[in-house]
């Protein structure tokens, strides 16, 4: 799967669960060993994308990494506000 599709996937997932979808952005920086996807949401939506005990953040990582397995590339997801 192409990196841009991974970015699109993360944007789609995040937009589906936040209150303010317009404020969702994902920045992609490609490295040799790993790609870093930086997810940014509205401050009020931070709790939504992290979840209790980080469960939602973990679920988002699991899904995006699964989509990346065909590429054999490691994906790191950072969440910032």
């Amino acid at each position: 799967m192409h990196e841009n599709s991974l970015k699109e996937l993360l944007i789609f997932l995040a937009q589906s669960i936040v209150d303010d979808p317009d404020q969702v952005t994902v920045d992609l920086s490609q490295g040799d060993r790993a790609d870093i996807l930086t997810l940014k949401v509205a401050p009020d939506d931070m709790g939504k994308v992290i979840g209790k005990k980080g469960r939602i953040a973990t679920a988002l990582r699991t899904i995006v990494r699964a989509a990346a397995t065909r590429e054999g590339k490691h994906i790191i997801i950072e969440i910032v506000d």
């Binding site: 799967m1 599709s5 699109e8 996937l9 789609f12 997932l13 589906s16 669960i17 209150d19 939504k48 979840g51 005990k53 469960r55 939602i56 973990t58 679920a59 988002l60 699991t62 899904i63 699964a66 989509a67 397995t69 065909r70």
Partner: protein, 153 residues
Amino acid sequence: MESQNEKRDDIKEFLDRILELFDIQATIEVAEEPSLVTVNIEGEDLSILIGSRGRTLNALQQIVNVYANKGRDEWLKVIVDAQGYRERRRQTLEEYAKKMADQAASEKRTVPLEPMNSFERRIVHCSLLERQDIRTESQGEEPERYIVIIPEG
């Protein structure tokens, strides 16, 4: 507030888009009961979508549940399955639970099981509820929480 019918269509659309982004060809069937929507995804090879021990499927189910319940007062539960994975996993867990319970009973010692999520632990607890020769307990912290089978009598 949206009706459950509209929610059902939203959930299907949501998962259709996920499949598209995963580049997976599959069909989605949605079944409905009050407060419960069950989604089954059928396709050729859905192993990527299921993940090791259903990890990806569970993550997907978790996100779908948040999405489906956004702005709702009443909780709508969504179960996401692929290629009948959950039913197969239930059978595997029940067989594993029985085998380990037999071992605990015959060897008269406490047997710990591998870590499982709460949904799977419930399957194991329930499947051993009727047995008089053992009892079950959960120990440890999430996500490493696990069941122990303790011999009785």
